[in-house]
Amino acid sequence: MHRFPRKLAVALTGLALVAGACGGGGGDKSASAGAATKDPITIGGIFALSGPTSDAGAPYADGVKAYVDYLNTQGGGVEGHKVNFPNQDYKYEVPLAESAYQTYHDQGAVGIIGWGTADSEALRSRAAADNMPFIGASYAAPLADPKQAPYTFVPGPTYSNQMRMLLKYISEQEKGAQTEVAFFHNKSPFGESPLADGKAYIKDNGLKMGFQSYAMVSTANDYVPELTQAKAQSPKYIIVHSTAGPTSKLLQNIASQGLKVKVLGLNYCADELTAKLAGPPAEGMLGINPYVQATGNEPELAAAAKYLEASGAKLADKPSKWIQGWNTARVYFTGIGNAIKANGFDKFKDRATAGPLILKALEEIKDFKTGVGPDVTFQSENHSGMQAAPLVKLENGRLVKVQDALLTF
């Protein structure tokens, strides 16, 4: 009987366990003009680099990390202070997010940059109890409500508001005539987030709309059954709220079933990744996305363009999620910088004092320019950074704004 050579296996296991211990503690990048030199502050990063949502989570993480690196090497740090940015992948598994949070907490982090609905929801009460300002990429409405998530910030329009904007847009396009609208959403808290608010909006404003919702489950290979059911409703518009993968499937199915509908997407599906996957059926899809791809000429993103040049990359090639990550980090660190400038760095050694100061500074951010979309404005009653959002279109595989058409509700 052949046994796997025992000694070899034991040696390999031991090696796998010990491997990194000798490789730890790498070198810092050498100091140059614009490098941060003063005492560091620590911010933790929790990203989804593998597992669900990683197709959007990975470029977002790249954008955030790029900004921190830029800050430390060229941007002069946060008011001169270096940023320690321990970060890791939590694979969309809540226990890993929690232990990452705990580690950063112990390392003395004064804030967290997070990602999705799973980690943002799981950590919101903890962050509030620990005075840890949290900024993320999940735009669910409860996260932007200071009563439910006092220390969480959302640098974009909430899903509920996006829904309201789209419904108002539809009603204006149809000039108040009776319209049927179908809402296709991801079967998860992320996907169901705007549903109740959408229905309430229709009722409260007396919009003449028939509204039905259809869940897209993750195990389905396609959505033809749901579309068949939707056919009975004969919708003129389909609003989609999911990520790029399922949305591209839906677009393909709509095309193959020959349905004549206009498709509108919320910000995680109106994305150039959808165009890449779906091909021609995605052409002309409208939607909301506060962070589109850059052209490379935006003055607010000049620093990004210059930073990327050093490694030979071009800003115009970066995905919209990268731009979102860069800007999320940018607004966050600007807030922290403002807080340090106003209060002095001594208070930032301890989270108990630093947290509320950063919170206040973030809430005071007004009209922060991102270069690709509406300005970010936070308020103490509302931690959602945008109350209006641009109408975007997928054109030739790129995400572009429809001539500054700004949607409100």
Partner: protein, 364 residues
């Protein structure tokens, strides 16, 4: 006494004792000292990991009862944890009742559901039963996510932290042996340690009773067991109920500890992790479940620490770009290699180590 040449016992009581030799007592004392001293020396984040491992021990031991001792593969642990967690959230926050009551309700409800899903065990064997438990996992999580009566339409449910006489248990009163100012993880450590010890001792004692022996008989030769009078179907349901109840209790503890429940905590991956724990630890061994739970909880954290220690510029710089998949691959590799070295788990590995020293210089 267990001598190098065999065992020699003269009373039934001596036969059934848990600790026999001096060496075993010494090891037990060492463990007690280590457990008592750990929270004072560990950093908060490792204490947190230890607490999570402790909660996992409870569910892992429960799973070992039904899978290791009774031979029924269960992939529904995630679902039972969910029942425990959500019940606790609903009872403490929506009904406003005290936490211990919530824990009891969680355990009982989980045990009841476990019994229901254990009913098919009478007819189904092996992989067919395993897939039925897989179905149970999906159905329970689906209900917990979609049923408005449970979720109240929310993404996550808050859990009111447990109080003793009006103060949170995590707020240690002043002047208490100089312990004030310790974090909540410190307070929770003792609570979790208490319940984990209870679970472990309870299970070990279970398998000294007739019921325990009946379950083992069902695993080894269920038809013969039926013939000699063991009511197989009934005991199978009971095994499921006990295991589910323990998992439910673990879920309840976890919910109170983290104060928020989301369904992402209870997916099929979690069930698979628990099965991993008891296999790596050793099927049919309570101490194995403990080792397995500790190891599987600790391993990803260790890999993560190692991974974040690697930065560009160090000797392993090329790995930095791809740290994440390498971390995932490292975890899988450790699992596979471990099983190739010792398929019967850590308990067996430990047993072999003990035997080696006990019998040295002889081989057997």
């Amino acid at each position: 006494m267990a001598a190098a040449t065999g065992v020699y016992r003269t009373t039934y009581q001596a036969d059934m004792t848990l600790r026999r030799t001096k060496a075993e007592y010494v090891r037990l004392a060492l463990i007690v000292i280590a457990l008592a001293g750990a929270p004072f020396y560990l950093s908060n984040s490792w204490l947190f990991v230890l607490n999570v491992a402790g909660i996992s021990v409870i569910a892992a031991v429960g799973l070992n009862i039904v899978t290791g001792y009774t031979g029924l593969i269960s992939l529904a642990t995630g679902g039972f944890l969910a029942i425990g967690g959500y019940t606790t959230a609903i009872v403490t926050t929506r009904a406003g009742l005290p936490t211990p009551l919530a824990w009891v309700a969680a355990t009982v409800l989980a045990a009841a559901v476990g019994a229901v899903f254990g009913l098919p065990a009478g007819r189904l064997k092996g992989i067919y039963l395993a897939i039925t438990t897989l179905a149970a996992q999906y159905i329970i999580v689906y209900l917990v996510r979609s049923w408005k009566a449970v979720t109240g339409g929310l993404d996550s449910l808050l859990v009111t932290p447990p109080k003793v006489g009006g103060t949170l248990i995590t707020q240690i009163p002043e002047k208490w042996f100089g312990l004030e100012g310790k974090s909540e993880h410190f307070a929770w450590y003792w609570v979790i340690l208490f319940f984990a010890t209870l679970a472990v001792l309870g299970t070990v004692n279970l398998f000294r009773t007739g019921l325990g022996r009946a379950l083992i008989a069902i695993r080894d030769q269920d038809i013969a067991a039926e013939v000699i009078g063991v009511r197989v179907a009934r005991y199978k349901v009971l095994a499921f109920a006990i295991s589910a109840g323990m998992a439910g209790f673990a879920g309840a503890l976890q919910a109170s500890y983290r104060s928020i429940v989301t369904f992402e905590r209870y997916t099929i991956d979690v069930s698979i992790v628990y099965v991993t724990m008891i296999i790596i630890g050793g099927l049919g061994s309570v101490s194995g479940s403990v080792y397995g739970a500790l190891f599987i909880t600790w391993l990803p954290e260790y890999i993560r620490h190692v991974g974040s220690g690697i930065r560009s510029g160090s000797a392993f710089g090329f790995i930095t770009e791809q740290v994440v998949p390498i971390q995932n691959a490292a975890f899988a590799l450790v699992l596979i290699l471990f099983l190739l070295v010792e398929p019967r788990g850590m308990a067996r590995l430990w047993q072999r180590a003990k035997d080696y020293f006990r019998l040295w210089p002889f081989r057997y």
